[in-house]
């Protein structure tokens, strides 16, 4: 139960960070991605702030052999840079640049009431389900 509560608080903090930094506003994200003419560097500062804190927090947590509320630290075991990583990142960047939304901000802004975000969310979930279905079939 404490894991569920911790995850809820973690999500709440994460969402607050996205709203305060205005990353939940697609226009703000597009302002960063649009390099020609007028540029808004804010997104780089959001990433710098987040990376600075997590780079320390990540190492601090690893002084323990396990997380506080669970048995193991869970992390991707993939190390290879392959075509799937590159093609996936290219497709993600394409969708991100078109709408100005990525998964975190899309979930947060689902609460703002714009039905286009709900359509984005439904399509994103369909895409996530589709790839998992294909990968599951290929592995099974």
């Amino acid at each position: 139960m404490r894991r569920v509560l911790a995850a809820f608080i973690g999500g709440g903090l994460f969402g607050a960070g996205l709203i305060i930094s205005q990353m939940s506003n697609p226009a703000k994200v597009i302002g960063f991605l649009d390099l020609s003419g007028q540029w808004d560097p804010s997104l780089a500062f959001v990433m710098a702030g987040a990376v600075a804190v997590f780079a320390l927090g990540y190492r601090f947590a690893l002084r323990r052999s396990s997380p506080l509320f669970d048995k193991n630290f869970v992390m991707s075991e993939k190390v290879n840079v392959d075509k799937t990583l590159i093609s996936g990142s290219l497709l993600f960047g394409l969708g991100w640049g078109l709408a100005g939304l990525c998964p975190g901000p899309a979930i947060v802004s689902s609460s703002f009431g714009d039905s286009r975000v709900w359509m984005f969310m439904a399509a994103m979930l369909a895409g996530m389900g589709l790839i998992r279905l294909i990968q599951h079939r290929n592995n099974g």
Partner: protein, 141 residues
């Protein structure tokens, strides 16, 4: 190039909060706060694995709801695409992040923080793709 709408202070504060949230998820649960992975892997999950994922997503939704109700002046939302654009972009984001195993949070924040080669390359690639997409969509089409 001219700099416009730059908000460095709120960007750094918001970013630090995101880093704090990621630290809490890692320190308490031993999980990487990558939103696409937490959401995508909730599909087909069961028991406690499903519950903490849903709780994290509920936290994100609650932050949006609380801001909308309590601090409406803090909520800015402007999106330029219509329904068709939103659906196409959503599909691309869902497929892309599932193939590459992460998004702006999992690769961009968490992976870059621990200097993962995969995440550094993924972040450079989706950033370049985003820059190019906006250039083509806003200035060439």
């Amino acid at each position: 190039m001219t700099i416009v709408n730059f908000t460095p202070v709120s960007a750094l504060i918001g970013g630090a909060l995101i880093g704090l949230a990621a630290t809490a998820m890692w320190w308490l649960l031993g999980r990487i706060a990558g939103v696409s992975g937490i959401l995508g892997n909730a599909i087909g999950a069961r028991g406690i694995d499903l519950m903490w994922r849903v709780a994290f997503i509920a936290g994100l939704l609650s932050a949006g709801a609380i801001a909308t109700i309590a601090f409406p002046e803090s909520v800015h939302f402007t999106m330029d695409v219509g329904y068709a654009g939103a659906v196409i972009a959503g599909l691309l984001v869902g497929i892309g992040t599932s193939l590459s195993g992460g998004c702006t949070s999992g690769h961009g924040v968490c992976g870059v923080s621990r200097l993962s080669a995969r995440s550094l390359i993924a972040t450079g690639t989706f950033m370049a793709s985003g820059f190019l997409t906006v250039y083509v969509a806003r200035h060439l089409l």
